[in-house]
């Protein structure tokens, strides 16, 4: 399926090591290097030692490195960051573990992923954060923990946020559940401001979404299914923006899905409110029409919306209102999804199709340039989460993804590294393939 050549990885240059005192562990040569932060987009070679980028320049000298990767014809970008991943450990290790999730991540070109705290039990205390970081030691990529805003995700009492920060959480969120009580969210925003910690909000008025299983619109009307109206999201986006403005805290709106939501966020940004947001590949690719075949793998929350919403998401990705592209990777077992549409859980896996969809739907369709797209998957989430990642720059960790932009492949969920296969993209032809994923200077995946 991969039309392009395999990467050529010559054997270690042992002789050179002996001859010269200064050598590198890894050199990536001849690729088109994109670093969105410095707006670099040119042919360059990258030299890595001890897991750190030492220099980025075009060199004519003989390369002295133990290992050299020939990236000719490839695009070399900072390792991708997914700020919205569900890893299911602890609690549902049958669907995904931190390890299998990390395998899926590196196969998708991600070198850092942020695990959402709606595990069983939820990540709402220091011990659970420590458990995740302990498990993360064996992972193929970097795992960052997002902690709960409220104890047990109940939307009532704040978690010990200082404790969570000391344990290393990079943000807090009650993802999956919207905080209905505005006073609780106000307190969370004011309190987290002390730590410059972003609050990630899943915006959904649960009274408005009620029994809904898909977007409320013509398709839900035809199918006779209970709908989730756009206003279920938009009313809470509006409220959260007001709370962020009032508290002067940072809020990040997760997985925006409607035209109304992105309009609100665009206006808020114009007024200088500290709001950022993300969109998922499925929300810029699919519409509610796909539900006509009752495919439970397309049942997600927020639901797939209309063509008009998809166009708005693309427009605001292009205009910069939408800062990040995040997967909302949500593994579910086959037996949980192979049921009546109403009974199936929400969520689809996304780590292994995200880049392909970005290339196919956004870059190749001229919605975003390579640099813009990569920024939304690297430096932008890194800035929001204060991560030392997402750059190809001297002294930064050597987290790097090498992409074959022309390679075409067919998405095949049965071959996913993820433990779960719940993707509606099976059989879809995609462009842009991950050739190599490098974490701290080590090759962790070769495609």
């Amino acid at each position: 399926m991969n039309n392009s050549e395999k990467l050529k990885i010559p054997s270690p240059a042992g002789e050179e090591k002996k001859k010269s005192g200064s050598y590198f562990d890894l050199a990536i040569i001849g690729g088109r290097v994109i670093d969105p932060e410095t707006k670099m987009d040119r042919m360059a070679d990258i030299f890595i030692r001890d897991g750190v980028i030492i220099k980025v320049e075009k060199t004519k000298d003989k390369i002295k490195a133990r290992k050299t990767i020939d990236a000719k014809g490839k695009i070399v970008v900072p390792g991708l960051i997914d700020m919205h991943t569900h890893l299911r450990e602890p609690g549902r290790e049958d669907e995904e573990t931190i390890y299998t999730g990390s395998c899926a991540a590196v196969a998708g070109g991600f070198t850092s992923i942020c695990c959402m705290p709606n595990t069983q039990p939820p990540i709402d205390n220091q011990e659970t954060v420590k458990f995740v970081y302990q498990k993360a030691k064996d992972a193929k990529c970097k795992i960052y923990c997002v902690g709960c805003i409220t104890k047990g995700q109940k939307g009532e009492e704040l978690t010990e946020i200082y404790d969570l920060v000391r344990a290393g959480v990079v943000a807090i969120s009650d993802d999956g559940l919207s905080i209905a009580n505005s006073q609780v969210l106000r307190n969370a925003l004011e309190y987290s401001r002390m730590f410059d910690l972003p609050v990630i909000s899943h915006c959904e008025d649960l009274n408005l979404s009620a029994c809904g299983v898909m977007h409320e619109g013509f398709v839900s009307t035809t199918l006779g299914m209970c709908g989730i109206p756009s206003i279920a999201e938009e009313t809470i986006v509006a409220r959260d923006i007001k709370l962020a403005e009032f508290t002067k805290a940072r809020i990040h709106i997760a997985h925006v899905s409607t035209e109304g939501s992105v309009d609100l966020i665009r206006q808020a940004k114009k007024r200088g409110i500290k709001v950022t947001c993300e969109a998922t590949p499925h929300h810029f690719t699919l519409t509610d029409q796909i539900i006509r075949t009752f495919d439970t793998n397309a049942k997600v929350n927020p639901p797939l919306r209309t063509k008009r919403d998809v166009e708005a998401i693309k427009r605001e990705l292009s205009d910069g209102t939408i800062d990040c592209i995040a997967t909302d990777h949500a593994p579910h077992s086959i037996e949980e999804k192979e049921v009546e549409f109403d009974a199936a859980p929400f969520g689809m896996v996304g780590l292994e199709t995200a880049l392909g969809l970005v290339v196919t739907e956004l870059i190749n369709k001229k919605v975003l340039s390579w640099a813009q797209a990569i920024a939304k998957m690297t430096v932008n989430p890194a800035r929001i989460l204060n991560l030392k990642a997402g750059r190809i720059k001297k002294n930064f960790p050597a987290d790097i993804t090498i992409i074959d932009p022309k390679a075409s492949w067919i998405a095949d969920p049965t071959k996913f590294q993820s433990k779960s296969k719940n993707s509606p993209f099976g059989g879809r032809k995609l462009r842009g393939k991950v050739c190599c994923t490098i974490v701290d200077g080590k090759v962790v995946y070769e495609g």
């Binding site: 619109g217 013509f218 009307t221 035809t222 299914m225 009546e340 109403d342």
Partner: protein, 310 residues
Amino acid sequence: MKLKSKHLLGLEGMSRKEINLILDTAETFKEILSRPIRVVPTLRGVTVVNLFYEPSTRTRISFELAEKRLSAEVVNFSAAISSSRKGETLKDTVRNIEAMKTDMVVVRHQASGVPYFLTQCLDSSIINAGDGAHEHPTQGLLDLFTIREKYKNVKGLKVVIVGDIKYSRVARSDMWGLSIMGADVSLCGPSTLLPVEIDKMGVKVYSDLNKALVGADVVIVLRIQLERQKGGLLPSLREYTNKFGITKDRLKRLNENFTIMHPGPINRGVEITPEVADGPHSVILDQVTNGVAIRMAVLYLLSGGEGKVE
């Protein structure tokens, strides 16, 4: 002529020809039903499972009678006594039933899309006997049959469907069926019970019953359920009756030779007065009679039968 699919999941997307084939075939069966011996050997050796996950009296009995009058072997299954109570998935349940060698499955389920789901996991012919608020195709067909029987032609008739459109699978199947056959369809109900963008189905939408009824030939009255009041969609049934109840007085706006229909079960005194339900223009019981003939026609055609009944 044969039907295109071996399943009947809904009337959406069917052709006028196919619907006419079913209606014509049902006419033959209706004639058979009027004979002293009402049983034909057409489906001898065919096993039909009636899979009812939702309570039903009329539809279940109608299907069972249709099957028995075609000499099919009939197995009834209802959720109350099924293994679904023991945590078995729907897929496992139906595959187990099919493993006992069945040919056709008639399914009623509270979730939209279940009949389609069954086509994905079974080889049997699937007949939708009502799924969620999606479709109830045999009801739509029997309504068409009843209208055609009285007016000879459905085309050009003005039909008003009144009531809880949002949660009604009958309304959807009627809308598709009537539109395909060329009727002029209007909907009328409280704005909270009209689903969004319903007008895109090519129907007129009213919340003023008096306006909707002007010049109509057929009124299809839907059952209004008490749950709608609990769900906050209606302040009270009393208020519904005042604004949307079909009373003798309101019928003055209709064409002279008008018809009153109702898929049942009726809430007498709520959506329709007994006087109208039992009045000379009501064909509510004819609908029930025709239901058996329609279901015989559907079973016969889906089991591979062609237009002419031997």
